[in-house]
Each structure stands twice: as C-alpha cells, then as structure tokens.
C-alpha cells in the first residue's frame, strides 16, 4: 500500500481508484523554546531546578540516615523508612524528570526517518553461508563416518549423567515416600494444645470449643528442627459438639473414635494441604481459608463445598485414667492432599 505513489488529489481525474497514497510525514511544528529565547532560558532553568531537587534529596536522605537511628519500635522504623525513602525518591525523580524535560524542551524534536532493510540475508550471502557449512561437513566427514557420528552423539548424550545421577540420588533425601502414611500419633499419646503444649483433659473441652492440637511430645522434640516436618502431618483440630448434633463420624463398626461429642480431625486439607481451621460453631462447618473447601464436622467431616474431595481423616481418641484425651492410634490413612499411590 505504501508503495503507491499516485496522487490522491480528488480533483485530478485518473488518480488511483484502489488505494490512497501516503501523504508523507506531517509538517513539523516548532516548540516555543525553538524560537523564543525566553522560553528556552526558562526551560533550562526548570531543568537546573530539577537537578538541584535531586541533590537536595540525596542530602536529605543522608541526613535522615545519620539523624534517625531506628529503635526497633513501629513508629521509629516507620519514620526512618519514610525519611530515607523520600530522600531517595526525590534524588531519583529529580534526575529523571530533569533528563526527560531536557530532552523534550531543549534537544531536537525533529523526527527523522531511517531506512529499514529486510531481515533476510541476500541470496548471495546465503549461498556463501551454505557453501561454508557444506565445506565444513565434508571436511569433518560426518556424513560418511557413521560409527564416529554415533559415538560422538552417544558421548554427548551420556555425559550429563555424571552430574544427574549423583544429584537425583541425593536431592530427594531417601526417596522413601512411604513416610506420607505415618504421623507422630500413636496409641496412648496425649493430645496437647498448640503451640503451648499443655495436655488436654476431656472435661476442659466444653461444647462449642475448638482446640488446636499437637501430639504431647517433649519440649526438646518440639524445639528440634525435625519437629516442623512431623507437625506438618500431625496437627489436629479438636472440637466438642453436643452429642445429639453428631450425625455420624468415621468410626468403623464396633469402635468409637470420639469421646462424648469430642471429635478430632486432621487439620491438613485433603485438597492441597492448607490448615483447615475456620470452625463455625453454629453450623459445625470447617472452612479452609485457602480455597474454601468446607467440611461438615457433625457428619464425619464430609465435604459440603469447594475443591476438596475426601473428608478430613479422623484421629481416633479416648481418655486415659487421669481424664486426659489420648489417641487410640495413628490415622488410618495418609493425611493431607491426594497422591497417586495413596491407596496402595
């Protein structure tokens, strides 16, 4: 279209009836600073002022640095951050605005046109390039030395194994994914409050209460670095309902996994593993704040809404001689999100 060089003057009969012609670049309009010395001077002054603001900003930032030592309080840190940051912002914006203003008002604003060339290399260049490659191929003899080619490719394909094998063997620790099946819970282990670690008596769990629970392990274990991984599977939510409200739980026939309306469910969502912790006392619904899966505690933690599919696993509990809540056993299934071999 742009190649069309016909005139489009409509008064001239015989102009192209198919396409209009490019009118060319619009007329250049001069700025005030181009012909008014006063405007030019004013623009220059503005640029200078902006640079001066930048210098003042830097100085201000340095003063703020030495004058305000953050004292660790919210106010102190906020003030230090604010003054340092504002100084920095002025220092930077001063330079930026000055440079742009300079370019816009004082440097040439006449648009220039530069030619483009097609990206494709010209045929003769291509010919030479292809010839050179062919010469190289011929020289190396890669085409006819089949065994050599095979050996070279195999060597290149294989050498990454020298890095990959040691890496892959160690990067997943012992690769024992069977650990997903077990948690720290075991028969007779007391339920304790999270994060304080106080064992919980059944009598303390009043109706409508919800306790965030961890296994009652030693203080030493709770401060070890392995604990976080154990806790990531073992956290439990303990809730007491009016026993009349409980429609069902996950106890198999002949067993009772709850105790007088007290039920314990894994806190790890069966969707992607967020802690499911929003318990609504009136509806007995447990809601996950990450993706809103909703579980019905009064009905074996079945899913009533959202992206999760399976109920939260129930921890079988009972009371010991002293009236403390204890686990009957570990969970009967892996807690948390589904994975391929979960049921194997």
């Amino acid at each position: 279209m742009s190649d069309n060089q016909h005139s489009t003057d409509l008064t001239t009969p015989g102009a192209s009836q198919e396409v209009f012609a490019d009118p060319g670049m619009p007329e250049h309009k001069h700025r005030r600073a181009d012909h008014e010395p006063a405007a030019d001077k004013r623009a220059e002054l503005q640029v200078v002022v902006l640079f001066v603001i930048s210098i003042l900003g830097t100085i201000g930032s340095l003063i703020a640095y030495f004058a305000f030592r953050p004292d660790g309080t919210t106010d102190g840190t906020r003030f230090s951050t604010l003054t340092l940051g504002l100084g920095m912002a002025f220092a930077l914006l001063g330079i930026g605005l000055a440079a742009v203003h300079w370019a816009k008002t004082l440097m040439s604003d006449t648009e220039v046109s530069e030619e483009r060339h097609a990206q494709r290399s010209p045929d003769e260049v291509r010919e030479v390039a292809v010839q050179k490659l062919q010469d190289g191929v011929k020289d190396s003899g890669i085409g006819r030395r089949g065994v050599l080619k095979g050996a070279a490719l195999s060597a290149l394909a294989l050498f990454p194994l020298t890095i990959a094998v040691p890496l892959v063997s160690s990067v997943g620790n012992d690769w024992n994914v069977g650990k997903f099946r077990h948690t720290r819970w075991e028969k007779g282990m007391r339920l304790a409050t999270d994060p304080t670690g106080r064992p919980i008596k059944a009598a303390d769990v009043t109706i409508g209460s919800v306790f965030h629970v961890i296994p009652d392990v030693s203080e030493e274990e709770r401060t070890s670095h392995e604990w976080i991984t154990e806790k990531a599977k073992a956290v439990v939510l303990l809730i007491r309902l009016d026993p009349r409200d409980i429609e069902s739980d996950q106890s198999p026939k002949g067993q009772t996994w709850s105790h007088e309306g007290i039920v314990a469910f894994s806190k790890i969502c069966t969707h992607v593993g967020c802690p499911v912790a929003l318990y609504e006392q009136q509806t007995h619904h447990l809601l996950c704040p990450c993706h809103q899966s909703t579980f019905d505690v009064a009905n074996g933690a079945k899913v009533v809404f959202g992206p999760a599919h399976r109920p939260l696993p129930q921890l079988p509990i009972t009371v010991d001689d002293e009236g403390y809540l204890v686990a009957q056993d570990d969970f009967d299934q892996p807690v948390g999100p589904s994975y391929w071999e979960r049921l194997k």
Partner: protein, 554 residues
C-alpha cells in the same frame, strides 16, 4: 582552554579504545539509531527498569539475609517476635527490617519492584498483542518475551517464599499439594523439591539459589536476547503519514533517547522508592515464622499468581477419581496444571496461528490499530477476561467481606463466568471493533460534523461536513482487511483426492473465523463517489460477510 583540553582527553580515550576494540563501527552504527516515540513503547522499559531495581535492591538484601532453616531464638525488634523460636531466614529478615538502617526500605522497594515488574510485563505484552507487534519478523521475540513472563513468575514465586513466614509457607504447602497430584511421579517430585517430606530443611536454601542465581541469570540472558532482537529488527511504529514497513520514524538514540529513556529509569526507580517509603508491603512479622499449623484469612499469593489460586478455588472437588487403586486428582490437575498450561500455550502459539490463517509472509513494522483486526482484539480481550475472572476468584473472600456477599455464591458466579465471560467479552469486543471501523469509514467518506446548518435555495437543509485532512484520512484508510483463505477443490484436475486437503480445509475454517466479518478501508473511488453524492449523503458501509462481499471497490 578547558574545552580543548577536555576534547583532547576525550579524543585520546576514544582513540585508545577504538584501537583495541574497533568500537568506532558500533558508535557509527548505533549512536544516531532512530527510535519512534510513543508512550506505550515505554511499558517494556518499565519492566526492564524494575528488573534493574530488583537487582540493585536484591544485592542489598543478600548482604543481610541468611538462607537457612536452622532454628534460632530471635532477640530484639519487633517486640511481637522477641524470644520466638524461628528459622534463621525469618530472623535475618526481621533483622534486616528493624535493625539495618534502610533495610525495611530496601525490602519494600524490592517487593514493590517485583509486583511492578510483573504488571509492566503484562501491560507490555498487551500492547504488543493488540497492535500486532508479534508479526513477522518478531515472532521469536514474542516467544522470548513469553518465556520472560514465565521466568518472572518463577522469580517472584521463589523470592516470595524466602522469608519463611506463615503466608508464603502455606503457599509452598499448596505447591506441594499440587505437585503431589501429578500422576505417577507426584510424590517423588515432592521429595525432589523439598529434599524429603514437606517442609524439611532444604527448601529455603534451594529457593535462594534459584532466586538469586538461576532464575535472574536466565532472565538477564533472555533480556539480552530480547533487546538484541529489538536492535536487529528496529522498533515498530504506529501508523501515520510517512511511516511505512520500509522505514522507522523517530528520534535519534543519542542524545534524545538516551536522555528520555535514561531519565525514565530514574523516574521508575523514584516511583518505586516512593512506594517503598510510604506503603507497607509483606509485613512478615505479622504472619509470623512458618509453622504448619496456623494460617491467616486472606491467604493469597502475590497478584500475578492469583489466577492459579482462583483456578484452584473454582474447581469443584467431585473430580477426584480412583482408577485401579491409583488416585487421579483432576480437581487439582485441571485448575493448577491444565488451565495455566492452556493459557500459556495460547500465548506461545498465537503468532503462528495468525500467520497461518492469514498466509501473510511479509515483514510488518507498522503496527495495527486494534480495531482493524477485530478477531485478534476480541481474542486478546477474552484471554484477559479469563485471567481477570480467575484472579478475582482468587480474591473471592475479600470480595465477600468488602461487598457483603456470600463466598459460596461468588464462587458459583465465577464458575459460570469463567465459561461465559470470555465468550461474551470476545463477542462484545469484536462488535465494538467493527463498529469503530465503520465509524472510521463514515468519517473518511463524509468528514467531521461541524454543527453548521446551511439552507439551500431549494429549501433543503444540510449540515456542513468538514473533510478530513490528508493525515487524518491516511490513518483511517491505511490498513489491510484480510480475507479468509480460499482453498483448492478436494480433488485435482484428474479427480484424484489431493493430499493435505483436510488440513487445508481446517485451516480455511479457522481463517473464516478470523476474517469473515470485516470492514474494508475506503478507496479513493468510494470517496469520489461520496463527494459526487454530496457530503451529507449516507453511503452504505461495505462490511462483507461470509463469502458474499459487498462494496463498490471490486
């Protein structure tokens, strides 16, 4: 005197350098290289400069951050964390924030710059998409750009998790859940990432290496490639008088663009500093050190990951199946793997699809006005609509509390909108584009309304129309309305079925989807005819539909 001394010194230095590097060639080639001027060409620069700010502030932060999950008892500010057992990573983050002067400022600058980096990439891609800047010869640069988008997500994700706080820790936990849902290798992938069971004590050091070395290294290399290709291709330009596919109209690199672009770096950095100074971001001490038990309401990732979060939230849970004893969690795979996969595939393949259905082998350096390619514009808006609906779904709890709505109803509304919204957006956008094109035709044929009413001697009233000047008209007629591909018959002249006919037919069908509705640009003949009729006359637009083309020009 001083001038001559300076000049002599400069000449000496230049001579020294040139004798050793031959830099004269480069200076000759590039010093006055022309760059077109338009605000939307600076969006990519915002992304580039945010990245530079990320490197500068990130360097500061690495001086104080300890990438370790070893447990320590934190002493000192803030008082809500005094005496708390936490990882060294979290403790050093608190130390940087409260005890290193300017440390919190740098953390906030770094995080705001990261959010801005992604926002600028997205808007830059929108500009490139809607103006057709991805067409030949820039398809490869579009791919590089899309890779940069994905790497940006990776950089953000790995950095977000480093402070080892509850919020980002739950993000990692979700990642773990998603990875576990991958059939067959899921559990092993989880072990691969975490060095054993979640969370273990390897993940922070691993993410640290990815965040400060691997990901930024690749980004830097690809940014280099991206910019090199811009230099090779020379910048695109908006349509206008004197701008063709064979030239580039603009200002010389030195000094105008050096000053403008260089100045803009300082403006970008300055705005980020302003945000870092005044607006709190990611106050990790409020979330606390990572612990697998707590979670806080408003558990969301940074904005650029919200679409994934929303996608996970919308998917109903019924789609988890057990097949032969193995668990297939489509309720996680579809939203977290397949949907983002589809979105990114669309980005990667779009330039090639459009090229195929257009059968256009020419280089394009003059940008399209979005209205002149209605289907592309519609598809882009549909894509954005899907992205925004997912991001909003990822914020459904905040929408619920701020607009007093039920979170369950919102979720249902978004489930439906995700399917309906993009179609509707496509249809509306396409109609708007066609409408604007018709409006352009009207303008070219009849000129601007002046509001001046004239009465002729015969009693007829007309409104005087002022014809468009050459530049205005050129802008509205200088485009190609592509037509659907036409294919040869299924059998050749000898009645033998042609090979590849089916593919061609499929392509032709796609091409029809793209180009069957189109508005042709006004031709001089039409304009002359309109003039002959008188300015005020209505002349039917020559929109063509299907294979039936109307219009006077053929």
């Amino acid at each position: 005197m001083t001038t001559t001394t300076t000049e002599r010194a400069a000449a000496g230095a230049a001579d020294y350098l040139d004798q050793r590097t031959g830099i004269g060639h480069a200076v000759k080639e590039f010093a006055r290289k022309t760059f077109p001027d338009h605000w939307s060409f600076l969006l990519g620069e915002i992304a580039l400069y945010s990245f530079v700010v990320l490197i500068l502030s990130g360097f500061f932060l690495t001086m104080f951050f300890v990438p370790s999950m070893a447990l320590v008892t934190h002493h000192g500010a803030p008082n809500t964390m005094d005496g708390v057992l936490m990882s060294e990573a979290f403790s050093s983050t608190l130390h940087t924030s409260f005890e290193v002067r300017g440390g919190l400022l740098m953390r906030q600058i770094h995080h705001w710059a990261a959010l801005l980096f992604m926002a600028a990439i997205v808007t830059h891609m929108m500009r490139v998409f809607f103006t057709g800047a991805f067409r030949k010869p820039r398809e490869l640069n579009w791919l590089v750009g899309t890779l940069l988008l994905i790497l940006g997500l990776g950089a953000g994700f790995t950095g977000y998790s480093l402070p080892d706080d509850v919020l980002s820790g739950n993000g990692l936990r979700i990642t773990d859940g998603v990875v576990k849902s991958i059939p067959i290798i899921g559990s092993y992938m989880s072990y691969f990432i975490f060095g054993g069971e979640f969370p273990g004590d390897d993940i922070i050091p691993r993410l640290f290496t990815l965040h400060i070395l691997v990901v930024p290294g690749i980004i830097l290399a690809l940014v280099g490639v991206h910019l090199l290709m811009v230099v090779l291709h020379k910048h695109t330009q908006y349509p206008g008088g004197g701008r063709t596919d064979k030239n580039v109209v603009g200002f010389p690199l030195f000094p105008v663009y050096v000053a403008k672009a260089g100045g803009f770096f300082f403006v970008v950095f300055g705005v980020i500093a302003l945000m870092g100074a005044t607006m709190a971001i990611n106050n990790v001490w409020n979330y606390g050190p990572f612990d697998p038990s707590p979670v806080s309401a408003g558990a969301q990732p940074d904005w650029y990951m919200l679409f994934l979060e929303g996608s996970l939230r919308l998917m109903p849970g019924q789609t988890e199946y057990v097949i032969g004893g193995f668990t297939l969690s489509l309720n996680i795979l579809i939203p977290a793997v397949i949907i983002p996969g589809l979105l990114f595939t669309f980005l990667f393949v779009y330039p090639f699809i459009e090229a195929a259905v257009t059968k256009d082998k020419n280089e394009h350096h003059v940008l399209d006005r979005p209205r002149n390619v209605p289907v592309r514009t519609g598809l882009g808006v549909a894509f954005l609509t899907a992205f925004i609906i997912l991001a909003l779904a990822g914020s459904n709890d905040l929408i619920a509390t701020h607009f007093s709505l039920s979170i369950n109803s919102i979720t249902w509304a978004f489930r439906i909108l995700f399917f309906v919204g993009p179609w509707f957006a496509f249809w509306v956008t396409k109609r708007i584009c066609l409408g604007l094109q018709r409006k352009d035709r009207e303008l070219v044929l009849h000129g601007h309304e002046t509001g001046r009413i004239v009465r002729f001697a015969n009693g007829e009233y007309i409104e005087v129309h002022r014809p468009l000047d050459e530049q205005e008209r050129w802008l509205r007629v200088n485009y190609t309305a592509h037509r659907p591909l036409e294919i040869e018959p299924a059998t050749d002249s000898r009645g033998v079925r042609r090979k590849g006919y089916k593919n061609e037919r499929r392509l032709a069908r796609l091409s029809r989807f793209f180009y069957e509705d189109r508005v042709e640009p006004v031709t001089p003949a039409e304009l002359a005819a309109a003039h002959a009729h008188g300015d005020h006359d209505e002349l039917g637009s020559s929109e063509s539909h299907g294979e039936i083309t109307s219009g006077t020009q053929h």
